[in-house]
């Protein structure tokens, strides 16, 4: 099958990469661009491990043909750290709240959480559960993941404290 050139923005940088038309974005990001955070868990949109942001929207890349990424803006966890290496607030919350065990599902969940955090809104735990329900995790029972996302949302959007007052 023919090879084509994809032009898009990946983690803030313009990228041109050759790809096989049969590829999905998961293959291209992991195998051709070396973004190893994009994980294969099911290939059919049932686990969420391959989730990245495409134009700011958390998307399963296993069911997204690379051809469709032309001109799009793509973000993965590799692009979240500050230039000095500081973790982004969601990443830091996942570390601090012990949300990580085997870690295989974590990059995808972090990207969905990023989308939530960027809305500027606050969320109840049940709303977080629903917003992240496209991710399966087998290690954590989700407990600390939900707490980490709650913490990141509160920190970034100023809803710190139990009474919900802005900090």
């Amino acid at each position: 099958m023919e090879m084509k050139i994809l032009s898009c923005t990946v983690n803030g940088k313009p990228v041109q990469v050759g790809y096989d038309v049969r590829e999905c974005l998961l293959d291209t990001l992991h195998d051709r661009l070396g973004l190893t955070s994009v994980k294969r868990g099911c290939e059919v949109g049932e686990c969420g491990a391959c989730t990245v942001l495409i134009d700011g929207v958390a998307t399963d890349t296993c069911l997204y043909l690379t051809a469709w990424a032309e001109g799009k803006t793509i973000e993965t966890v590799e692009g979240l750290q500050a230039p000095d290496g500081t973790l982004d607030p969601v990443q830091q919350a996942f570390v601090d709240e012990f949300a990580v065990q085997c870690g295989f599902c974590i990059p995808g969940i972090i990207m969905s959480a990023e989308e939530l955090v960027r809305t500027g809104k606050t969320y109840t735990r049940d709303e977080i559960r629903k917003a992240l329900s496209g991710h399966l995790c087998r290690c954590t029972g989700y407990q600390n993941i939900i707490t980490a996302v709650e913490r990141a949302v509160d920190l970034v959007n100023g809803f710190v404290g139990e009474d919900g007052d802005a900090a």
């Binding site: 958390a58 069911l63 051809a67 992240l132 329900s133």
Partner: protein, 296 residues
Amino acid sequence: MYDITYFHEATSVQDAVKALTEHPEAKVIAGGTDVLVQIREGRFGPTELVSIHELRDELWGVVLDEDETICIGPITWFHAVNQDPICQERIPVLCEACDTPGGPQLRVSGTIGGNVANGITSADTASTLFAYGARLVLEGPHGRRTVPIEEWYAGPGKTVREHDEILVSIQIPRDHYEGFYGDYIKYGKRNALEIATMGCCCLVKLTDDHETIEDVRFAYGVAGPTPCRSHAAEEAARGKTVAEAAELVGDAALEDLHPRDSWRASKDFRMQLIKEMTKRALVNAANKGGSSASWK
């Protein structure tokens, strides 16, 4: 990697129709959440694809036309329908239904058009579109035609769409939705990432007392090989109070509906679900219209 032997990214609906005409074996792909899964399963062998993924200008979004018919572009994501102000105001139950397939990521890839075009009885929006009496507009080499949803399904996983036709609009006329309150219940074994074991949508119009049923529609997914209505349940409810009807509609629905035994659920269990969900969907819908009835 998918076993794709031909891939055409259409630049317009007519371009897609042309590509389909030239490739009699090609499949239409929009969101990809069904077609790619089937390619991976090897169901088609090596596959030719005509993509309408990028036809946002022609096939995306919700508009209200002059006679207040709601026109939904078929490649609109589930999530986008869910968030659309026109839908939220006029057909909120479709928004509810669009909030149930898979998980959030699926709902920003999967499209409402694909959910109908795949012809599947468990499609979450199908029963609601059935209840609303949606009209499906197809465009082919010889122009457009409109198919009422009642005539859309040609068997399990099959529709009347011809190979070289593209679904270009899903329309709900004003008199199909005005004055109706609705409720969609998806019964799944989990609360997310689930395919419906049974789906039930009820639309109800109440008289001014908010307790008497003027008109009602019950539509189901997974109650038969294709989405369907229960006219018996509708007959049983019409003219009654919500509380009276709630006691009758479950058994009445079973006169029309004949679910099958499968390893996912027995026929008996599905009948129990139909019975209970018909009642609850009616009461929930009526509650939104001001009724004080309770199913408990």
